[in-house]
């Protein structure tokens, strides 16, 4: 479903991504792990179409479509969803109104009628229950005055209502206590289906105890330096990013003639 080849990205003067290759199939959950400054968030932003980062080489395709040529709203139209690390506060627009505007925008792109008001209300009620979002938060302005945990749950609520084909979760676990983490993870797990792919970007292994990935990739200095199964996350947990780097260097030296 998602196919990234040799992706190079600069931000300002700096080369942040230096040849990313990644393939995620429908039905899979991949985790991208890496230390601060490794380029994780840049990858998420570039895929979603945020200004400020420039692709200098390579490509990213969603179901064969050139993602990088599309406007952010058109990427969403193709089924991409980014759960923000720092969700934006928008005073003056109620959460419900925003969700409805977004859902109807996506439905319009797919040639569907606007959702019936009653159907919409029962939909968000059900999905809000799933991520344990209080009804009162639905009537409040988007993320305005929400706690850190409420903001992250609100991102998952949006994902649950908009039902993307490919969801990128950018450090959705940061700033969450263990209870909130469980709720968020349960929300994500409920979204796992055979035709949806999920990419979880995280610094810590902790989240992956609850969202068990099919594949783990380690991103360092703008490159994926190792890929493996869920056990790779545990190895990271034990040895840290430094340990992984060391293993690689040793392997390199050992393999040299």
């Amino acid at each position: 479903m998602l196919d990234i080849k040799n992706l190079h990205v600069t931000a300002g003067e700096k080369l942040v991504l230096r040849g990313i290759n990644l393939r995620v199939n429908a039905g899979e959950v991949h985790a991208i792990m890496g230390p601060n400054g490794s380029g994780k968030s840049t990858l998420a932003h570039v895929l979603a179409g945020r200004d400020g980062a420039v692709v200098t080489e390579g490509e990213a395709r969603l179901d064969g479509k050139d993602l990088l040529a599309l406007l952010p709203e058109d990427r969403a139209g193709e089924g991409l969803f980014l759960a923000f690390q720092y969700p934006v506060e928008i005073p003056g627009i109620s959460n419900t109104y925003f969700l409805k505007a977004a859902l109807n925008a996506l439905r319009k792109r797919r040639g569907l009628e606007e959702i019936d008001a009653m159907d919409f209300l029962s939909l968000i009620k059900e999905r809000a229950k799933m991520v344990q979002i209080d009804q009162s938060l639905l009537n409040r302005p988007v993320n305005d005055g929400f706690s850190g945990g409420e903001k992250k749950r609100n991102e998952i609520l949006q994902m649950a209502v908009l039902e993307p084909r490919l969801a990128l979760l950018d450090e959705t676990d940061s700033g969450l206590d263990i209870d909130a983490l469980r709720v968020v993870a349960a929300g994500v797990n409920a979204m796992r289906t055979k035709d949806r792919a999920i990419v979880v970007i995280t610094h810590y292994q902790r989240l992956l105890n609850y969202i068990v990935p099919d594949a783990v990739h380690v991103l360092m200095n703008g490159r994926i330096i190792r890929s493996g199964g869920k056990e790779l996350a545990l190895e990271l947990e034990q040895n840290g990013y430094g340990g992984i780097e060391q293993t690689l260097t040793t392997a390199h030296t050992a393999g040299a003639p």
């Binding site: 979603a48 179409g49 945020r50 200004d51 406007l71 952010p72 709203e73 990427r75 969403a76 139209g77 969803f81 980014l82 923000f84 969700p87 934006v88 928008i90 005073p91 003056g92 627009i93 925003f98 505007a101 977004a102 109807n104 925008a105 996506l106 792109r109 606007e114 302005p141 949006q158 908009l162």
Partner: protein, 447 residues
């Protein structure tokens, strides 16, 4: 110099013509006030941009237009077919309509509960002038106020609202002032006097609309006296045509423990100047002043507010927001005076501007004059563009750029509108603001 003299002469000459007509009708005290008003105007002339209070608002071009007082023979009933569509269908229960400043009884309806008075100033000046004498033209000062002086000299009619002690009105009173454009430039002088006796409570809407083509000048003066513990919600809604000039002064005098909530919403006009002056004349008074202005093209809007804390334990809140597009201009000047005796004053002022174009200009200036030492005063002003973060957030959810801009612009305005406590007014004003935004920028809509 001669040019300015000529313009003044135009008004002074008009006054001498008017005088013979007025002399037969008005009581002597009113005639005296009118005389001193026109001589005050003769001394002052129109303000220029050298006058600090008019530094960014040039009325020079407007002052050269030979406006004629709109006359009664233009009150042709057939032209009001559209009036029902004008503002707030919900607000028809109690409504006084004035066309070019003159009372139109055939379009007006409703009355106040026993003891209250709602009616035409002209009629009252004839029948019960004694009721007006202590108040009319006593609140709004003429010093340095050329437009107030002109209104006082020339107004022929207006609205009188008298709320007796303890009366609580369930529905808003709507005072609707219609400027009728015609072939030649016309001026009208709406006048409003609101007296709320102790413990009275009411909502009053003044709306100013334009009908027909042509250049109009509305020079309005509203005087309000709030008795002890009285509560007034006052709405001023300006939405005249794009060729209209509008200068309005509201002068409010608050007695002990009274509370004023004011909304000033400016949506139309080529040049709009609002002077809102509130005197917190006794202890424990509160005022809350909200404002919203929308300008585009070459429109110019200027809000000058003055909150005068004269006694202890007064509280004032001021929150004005503006949206500018095109080459429009907005001026906000908020003066807060805290006099020596006004200890424990708590005053706050905020002005936020959303600039949608590169050519729009905002002049925003807080002016704090504090002569007491135990007070809280805060002020803040911002001028900004739409947030790139918020735009991206909306677009990442599939909302296209144009719609995302529209949503955010609406959100900026609706923060003000949400503060309106009466649902029918909130809905009515929200619809007007939406329509106005939509007209400016196709693609902005509220489903």
């Amino acid at each position: 110099m001669t040019g300015i003299l000529d313009r003044k002469d135009h008004y002074v000459e008009a006054f001498s013509q008017l005088e013979s007509a007025v002399a037969e009708n008005g009581p002597t005290w009113m005639q005296e006030i009118r005389h001193s008003a026109i001589s005050r105007f003769t001394e002052l002339g129109f303000p220029t941009t050298r006058d600090e209070a008019w530094r960014f608002t040039n009325v020079g071009p407007m002052a050269t237009i030979p406006f004629r007082s709109a006359t009664a023979d233009r009150l042709n009933g057939g032209r009001f077919d559209t009036l029902e569509d004008v503002p707030f269908p919900a607000l028809t229960a109690c409504r006084l309509v004035f066309v070019n400043g003159r009372y139109a009884p055939e379009l007006s309806r409703g009355q106040l509960p026993a003891g209250g008075t709602l009616g035409s100033l002209a009629a009252l000046l004839q029948t019960q002038p004694d009721r007006l004498e202590p108040y009319l033209a006593r609140q709004a000062p003429l010093e340095r106020q050329a437009f107030t002086a002109l209104n006082t000299a020339f107004f022929s009619d207006g609205a009188f609202v008298h709320l007796p002690q303890d009366v609580v009105l369930d529905h808003p009173i709507h005072l609707l002032f219609v400027s009728m454009g015609s072939g030649e430039p016309t001026v009208s002088y709406p006048r409003v006097l609101i007296i709320a006796e102790p413990n009275a409570k009411a909502s009053i809407v003044e709306s100013y609309v334009g009908l027909g083509e042509g250049v109009t000048l509305t020079n309005a003066v509203t005087e309000v006296v709030l008795g002890e513990n009285a509560r007034l919600d006052h709405y001023k809604l300006q939405r005249e045509s794009r060729t209209a000039f509008h200068v309005a002064t509201q002068q409010i005098h608050q007695h002990r423990n009274s509370a004023l909530r004011s909304w000033s919403i400016s949506l139309g006009g080529a040049l709009v100047r609002n002077n809102l002056n509130v005197v917190l004349a006794a202890e424990g008074t509160e005022c809350n002043l909200d404002g919203l202005y929308l300008v585009t093209g070459t429109q110019h809007v200027d809000n000058h507010t003055l909150v005068d804390h004269t006694r202890p334990h007064g509280s004032s809140r001021e929150f004005y927001k503006g949206i500018l597009d095109g080459k429009s201009r907005a001026v906000f000047n908020g003066t807060i005076v805290v006099r020596q005796g006004a200890q424990k004053t708590d005053a706050r002022q905020t002005n936020r501007n959303l600039l949608l174009s590169d050519e729009g200009r905002v002049h925003t200036k807080p002016e704090l004059q504090i002569f007491a030492n135990d007070v809280k005063c805060k002020h803040g002003a911002t001028i900004g563009k739409l947030s790139a973060d918020a735009l991206f957030y909306l677009r990442s959810r599939g909302i296209d750029l144009e719609a995302a801009r529209g949503l955010l612009i609406h959100a900026f305005a609706s923060e003000m509108i949400e503060r309106i406590p009466v649902q029918s007014l909130k809905d009515g004003i929200a619809a007007l603001v939406s329509a106005e935004l939509l007209a400016r920028q196709p693609g902005i809509g509220r489903s």
